[in-house]
Symmetry: C4
Subunit: 276 residues, 4 copies
C-alpha cells in the first residue's frame, strides 16, 4: 500500500467515523446510536439480581461484543484522526476510552462493569446525526440562555444554601435525634428535601414548633422556585430577541444586529430607505 493510498484510506475512515454528511457516515452514526443504547440497556439489566442469575452468560457475551466493537472504533478514531493526541485528550476521546476500560477491568475487579453506563455520555456525540435538523440550533439557544442566566442563578443558589444551613441547624436544635434529625448534616439534607418540595417523608418533624418552621420552609420553597424560572424565561426571551435582531445587515457598513423596525443603521447612520 502506497503512502497516498494509505492517506486516502485514513481520510475515508475519518469521513465515515467523525462526520455525518455522507450516507455511509450517517449509517455509521445510526448504527453507533443503536449499539450505545443496547449496550447501556445490557449494563442496566445486568444489575437486576434475578436476570443476572439466569442470563449471566448472555450478558457477558453481549458486553464483550460491544466492548470489542467500541475498542476497534476507538483505535480507528486514533488512526484516522489528523491530530491523534488532540483527540485522545479531548472530552469525547476520554469518554470513548472510559466506555471500554471497565469491561477489561472487570476481569480483575468485581462489579466494575457497572461503570460502563458512562457509555451513555457517548450519546452526546451521536447527537450529531440531528445536525441537519433544527435541534442543534434550539440546543444553542437553550445553552446560550442558560449561560447568560448562570451568574443570577449562582447568586440565587448562594442565598438558598445559606438559608438551608441556618434552617437545617435550627431544625436539629428544635427536633433533635428522636424525630430522626440525628445531626446537623442530616437536618440540612432534610431541609433540602423539603425546600425543593421533594418530601420523602423518611424524616419528618414531630413537634409543633418543628412543623411550623417546616411549613415556613415549604411555602418559601414553593415561592422561590419562581426565581430561577423567571430568570431563565427572561434570558430565553432576550436570546431569541437578539437572534431576531441579527437578521438585518446594514448595506453600507455591514454591521449586524438591527431591530426590525429600524430606519437608520445605529452604527454608521445610513438610511435604510435609500436602499429599498
Amino acid at each position: 500500500m502506497t503512502q497516498a493510498k494509505k492517506h486516502s484510506l485514513r481520510k475515508k475512515i475519518y469521513t465515515i467515523i467523525f462526520e455525518a454528511e455522507t450516507p455511509v457516515g450517517k449509517f455509521f452514526d445510526i448504527a453507533l446510536l443503536i449499539l450505545i443504547l443496547s449496550s447501556v440497556t445490557v449494563v442496566t439489566l445486568e444489575s437486576v439480581v434475578e436476570l443476572r442469575k439466569n442470563y449471566l452468560s448472555v450478558f457477558l457475551t453481549l458486553e464483550w461484543i460491544f466492548t470489542i466493537i467500541f475498542t476497534i472504533e476507538y483505535f480507528l478514531r486514533i488512526y484516522s484522526s489528523p491530530k491523534p493526541f488532540k483527540y485522545i485528550f479531548s472530552f469525547f476521546g476520554l469518554v470513548d476510552l472510559l466506555s471500554i476500560i471497565p469491561t477489561y477491568l472487570s476481569l480483575f475487579i468485581l462489579g466494575s462493569q457497572y461503570f460502563l453506563v458512562i457509555r451513555v455520555l457517548r450519546l452526546l456525540r451521536v447527537a450529531r446525526i440531528f445536525k441537519l435538523t433544527r435541534f442543534i440550533n434550539e440546543g444553542q439557544v437553550l445553552s446560550k440562555a442558560l449561560r447568560a442566566s448562570m451568574a443570577k442563578i449562582l447568586v440565587f443558589l448562594g442565598v438558598v444554601l445559606t438559608i438551608v444551613v441556618i434552617v437545617g441547624s435550627m431544625m436539629y436544635i428544635i427536633e433533635g435525634a428522636k424525630s430522626g434529625f440525628t445531626s446537623i448534616p442530616i437536618s440540612i439534607y432534610w431541609t433540602i428535601v423539603t425546600l425543593t418540595t421533594v418530601g420523602y417523608g423518611d424524616i419528618a418533624p414531630q413537634s409543633a414548633l418543628g412543623q411550623v418552621l417546616a411549613s415556613f420552609i415549604m411555602i418559601m420553597g414553593y415561592g422561590i422556585i419562581a426565581v430561577p424560572t423567571g430568570i431563565v424565561s427572561v434570558e430565553l426571551a432576550k436570546t431569541e430577541r437578539e437572534a431576531l435582531a441579527t437578521t438585518k445587515v446594514c448595506p453600507n457598513c455591514h454591521k449586524e444586529g438591527h431591530f426590525n423596525d429600524a430606519n437608520y443603521c445605529f452604527n454608521c447612520g445610513y438610511s435604510f430607505s435609500n436602499f429599498q
Copy 2:
C-alpha cells in the same frame, strides 16, 4: 323509502351526530357528554371491591345499556358518514369502536371491562360543543405554542435522561441493595422520582455520600424545572404577539402592532378608512 328520502335521512342524522350547529345537534352532544361521563364513572366505581360486591347487577345493567347506546351510535355514524371507511379508520372512529368492544369481550375475558375507561377519550370529541365559545381558539394558541416548543423540550428531555441514567447508576454503586437500590433500573426510577421532586420515600439514600448526591439531584431538579417553563412562556408570548401583530398593518408606513379597533396608524397618522 325512495333513494332521495334515504339520502335526506342520512344527511339529517349526519347533521345531528357529527355537527353541533343545530339545536338538536347540540342536544345530542350534551346527552353524549353526560352518557360518557356516567359510563366512565360506572366503570371506575365497579373496580371498588365493596361496591362491586353489593351492586354488581346494577353495574352490569348500566354497562350494557351504555354499550348498546354507543353501539347504535357507532353504526349510525358509519351509516350517515359520506365516506364510512375514512371514518372507521380515523382516530375518533377507532376510539368509538374501542369504547364498545370491551363490554362484548367481557363475556369471554374476565376484567376486560376496565378497558372501557378508553371512553374518556370520547370526551375530546364532545369538546366540539364548546366550538362556539373561545375555548377552541385558546386550545389552538396553546397547542401551537407547545408544538413550537417541542424541539427545545426534546433537547431538554434528552439531556435530563442522560443525567438520570448516569446519576441512577452512581446511586446504585454508592447505596447498593441494602438501602433499596436493588438494581440500576430501580435506581434510575428513584432518580426520576427525586429529580421531578415527586419523592415517594419508598426508597431513600442512607449513606452520607448518597445523601449528598441526592441533595445535588434535588437542587438540580428544582432548578431545571425552570427550563421547560421558560421555553413554554416565551413560545406562548410569541404566539400571542404574532396572533395580534398579523391582524393589522398600516398600509402607508407598514408599521405593525395596531389595536384591533384603531382608526388611525399610531405611527404616521394614516386613516385606515381610506384603505378599506
Copy 3:
C-alpha cells in the same frame, strides 16, 4: 331620640363599620382583624386533644365572648346598612352570619364549633384596611390576569384530567390490589398525587412496568407544569402592558390606551406633536 338623630347615628355607625377612611373606622377594622385572628386561633387550638383537656373552660369562654361580639357587630351591620336585605344576602353578609351560627349550634350538636374556622373568610373583608396602599391595585392586576388565563387553564385542566383517568386505569390493570392500587378511583388518586409531584409514597408501584409508566407520568407532570406557568406569565405581562398603555390620553378625542411611543391618536388621528 328624634328621627334625624337616629338617622345621623345610623350613618355614624355605617361609617365606622363599613368604611375605613376615618380614624375610628380604621381602628374598628384593626380591632376586627385582631378579633378574627384570635378567634380562628382559639378554634384551631381547641381541636388539639391535650389542650382541650386542660383548657376547655378557657376555650369555651373565649369562644362565647368572640361570638357575642360578632353577633352584636352583625346586628349593627343590619341596622346601619341602608339596604339591610341586600347586605344579608350578599357574600359577606352570609359569611358574617355563618361566623356566629356554629357557636349557638354547638349547644345542641357536638363538634359543630369547628365550623367556626369559616371566620377566616372574614379576613377578606378586613383586607379593606389596606385599601389606601397599593395592595388592592396589585390584587386587581393579579385577578384580572387570572381571569384572562381562565379559558386556557380550563382547556389545560380538561386535558390533564383525561390523562389522569386513562393512566389511573392503566396503573390499576398493571399493578392491581397487591401494590395498593385497590380500585380505579384509588389509582386515579395516586396518578394525581404523582402528576402534581406531591408523591406521598403511601401507594407506590412495585412492578417494573408500573414503575416505567410512573416515570413517564412524573416526567410529564414535571414538564406540563410549564403550561399554566407560561399562561399566567404571558397574561400578567399583557395586563401590565395594557395598564401602561392607559396612562396616555388623546387631548383631542380623550381616548385612552395609547402606546408610549405613539405619534398619532389611533382613534381620531390627532397628531400628538401639535399638543406638546
Copy 4:
C-alpha cells in the same frame, strides 16, 4: 507611637478588613471566606454522634482557634472603624458578634456551640470579594425585581393562607384522628405539605371524600405555583428592560431603547456624537 502613625495604622487596618480593592484586602477576604466555611463545616460535623465520640478534642481545638481568630478580627473592626458604635449595632456588626459568643457560652451552657452556624451569615459579607465581577449587579437586578413583586406576592400568600386554614379544617372534620389528622393545626400543616407539593406521606387521607378533597388541593397547588412564577418573570423582565432603556435616549427624537454601542439613532438617524 505618635497620633499620626496610629491614625495611619487604623486606616491601613480599615483598608485591609473592610475593603477588598487592595491585594492585601482581597487576600484577607479570601482567607476569611475559607475560615468561615471551615468553621461552619466543623460545627456541622461535630453534631454527628460517631464523629463527636472519636474526634471531640479535635473539634474543640478547631472551634477555639476559629473563635479566637474571629474575636481578634471583631476587635480590629471596632478599633479601625471610624464610627465604632455604628459598626457594632449594624446588621453585620451583630452577626460578627453572634459568631463568636456561642463558643464562650458553651463553657457554661451545653450544646450552645451549635448556634455557631450563624457564622454562615458572615458569608454575605464576604460576597464583597465578587464586587468587581458582575455578581453584585445581578444580585441587585434580582433583589429589585423581588422587591417590586413583594406586594403581589403578599396578596397571593394571603389568599393561599386563607385557603389552607379552611381546607385544613375541612380535612380535620372529614378524616379525623384515626387517619392522623389529630387536630386542626396538624391538618393545616398537612394541607401546606400537600399544597406546596412536598408530600411527606407521614399523614395521608384514607376516606374517599378526603382523597377527593386532597386531589383538589394538589391540582390547585400544582396550578397556583404559576402565580408567583409569573409575577417574578414579569418583574424581572421589566427590571431588565428598564436597566437597558434608561441608559440611552436619542436627544433628537427622544426614542428609547438604543444599544449601548450605537453611534446613530436607529429611528431618526441623528448622530449621537453631535451631542456629547
